[in-house]
Symmetry: none
DNA sequence: CATGAATGAGGTTTCATTCAT
DNA sequence: GATGAATGAAACCTCATTCAT
């Protein structure tokens, strides 16, 4: 008895939705919500423009779907970082490194969030899916900080949410503003060397702050 | 040598340009480069749409003019921070505090830079005016770090550009992403209390990193 | 002679057609021929859109089917009004009252006819079914008028078709134009009181005209 | 000194608006609000499609403008009917005749009102202009009825609003439903003869009702 | 009989830009 | 310098209809 494989291409709801979402993610990330063109998304996806509306409704709804997918994806990956059994200092290193590498390897992430912030997060606020999708990082951080504190390694007044935002900031801003920064500093901020330097610096900053004198 | 007669309508000309720039700054900051409407800018400025083209050319040129003004403004204010005679630790506090407050009081700054980065800084790269407009912060930082090092207060391996970017990051990301962050954390990030906490945290982070054990 | 086996799914077939017709009637009445949406009709009917085409062909054909059903329905009801044995004056009262109440209780009737008239009755003209579906009212009226004339009660120059149109007019226009009329007169034309007044007035008008001085 | 004539065609606000309104009136009357095509209106008017939006906003706003113009036009003409010095019976004749002829000579009137009623008069209800634009007919009728009553010619219980609606009904329905009626009766309702017959019949009906036995 | 996916044509609306005065 | 009218291109979105299963 053979297993029935779902048809590869035509008449396939999930495949069509997926291909549209991928195309939309690219387009929105490159051009922003307003700059993105529905026609372009359809063309990139290789589907009829009408399908976007059939599956996702308005352009804004499609944008929300992209956002939701984007958040789910990073949350999924974050989940895989199990830091419970790792030494506190090493755990912090891994968090920083993960954040940095995730932004580097998923270049759509930053522009999508910037677009959403330009629109005052109106889409996010309407989404029940995302609002409750807290990053597991915060609770991980809390646990790591607590262990570090008990071991007398970490300072005792560090707030996990502030620290989470700080860790994100250090990578995010550097990459989000790479074009203006590199123009003004006339420096390549993304050379292999520069990337290693940045990661090293960020780790120094966070650990310099956290580790007790 | 002939005497240059001042044009009779220089005043009007400058006033018109200024009012247009102010309106354009608001519109671009609120909606982004693509989302901004030429009609809206003209209406906000209370001038005829044709004037925008007369004075600034295309929409992109106007955007560049806005960017240039924006950079000049922050550079001007940065200049006023004279840190030469201030103790190194206090100098760092002031840099952080200035950055934070500047972003808070000039809310157009962040979205404009985000727009420009979405467009890969194409405008900035064409502008001779801005490319050479380095922030005086970097040289200030260099001098402050040196003094701190000589006094045995600061660590010796801190790079001024990395540190500059780090200081900017901590404020910028927090404010740039305030809408998504506050949605996801279900927390008011801009209450008086939250703002004070953030400033304090950022100072701790930077000084915690800089000050030698 | 072969026996015709009833098709096993005739029941389903008829039920489906009926449910579609009901839904289509509502949709066409509410939105007009152009404003009605095929998707909406299918959704209202709870059947797959494809079924509409399967059973009725094009949208226009469906509209014609609705029209035919609509005419048949009113003709059926008109048939039940047996006025042969009723006194002429009372017969006229009943005709007016029936017309008025039919329009009130079948609010789809007026908008459907208005739609068809907007389209110059192209559907009706193609329909063999309806073209010959004369209202029995006209012949009833003829008979009633004749009796009234013979009894010396009614004027002798009344034309039955004119009178039929007149009786329809008085109710039809009032209800068809209720929204504009009530807006302009700032008056509720459909309160219980207003409805009674209208019926009474219409009866007075027709009988005032008919009954010989 | 010559008088400056406004430019005949281009760059002329009023002329453009007028030509658009005329075209829109025709298109809306022929096809209804939904059936009318913005492109068609622009083409009929010989202007760029963009102009419709420039002057009137959305399609619905344009429809309202058409409605307003339509009401103003009939109200203007109604004003010219001065019935104060005319004998009551003759006054009623003139009212009926005016109504009939107005509908005949302004064939856009009926379909436009039908469209508006299909949409539950939503446009009219938003228009401050029209809501207060009462027909002078009602007060004229009131005065005529009063004189007729005092002369002992007219019945004493006739309500002017009911009568106004009745007079309108008799012409309106006949013309509004001419296509379905003529199809079903297989009769030309608009021949010269038929038109004369209808006017004569309507007059008989109204006067038959009004004139005291 | 029945269904959900798919489509092409065309609808309304918007936009940056230019023209005529 | 200044203005309001005008435009073409293109954007978003909708619709009746058909296809593949």
């Amino acid at each position: 008895m053979t297993i029935l494989k779902p048809k590869p291409n035509t008449r396939n709801r999930d495949a069509s939705k997926e291909v549209i979402l991928v195309a939309a993610t690219e387009e929105f990330a490159e051009k922003g919500l307003q700059g993105a063109r529905v026609d372009q998304i359809a063309e990139r996806a290789g589907v009829n423009k009408r399908m976007l509306y059939y599956y996702f409704g308005q352009k804004d709804d499609l944008f929300l779907a992209v956002l939701e997918r984007t958040y789910e994806k990073i949350r999924d990956e974050e989940q895989t970082l199990n830091l419970v059994e790792v030494e506190p200092v090493e755990a912090i290193r891994r968090l920083i490194s993960f954040t940095w590498n995730y932004y580097l390897q998923n270049p759509e992430f930053i522009p999508l969030l910037n677009s959403e912030n330009l629109h005052k997060a109106v889409h996010l606020k309407e989404s029940k899916k995302i609002r409750s999708l807290h990053s597991p990082f915060v609770s991980m951080l809390e646990e790591v900080l607590e262990r570090g504190r008990q071991q007398g390694v970490f300072r005792s007044d560090a707030d996990p949410v502030q620290l989470y935002i700080t860790i994100a900031s250090l990578s995010y801003f550097y990459l989000s503003n790479k074009h203006t920064l590199s123009t003004i500093f006339a420096r390549d901020l993304l050379s292999q060397r520069a990337r290693a330097d940045r990661l090293s610096h960020m780790t120094d900053v966070v650990l310099g702050y956290l580790i007790q004198a």
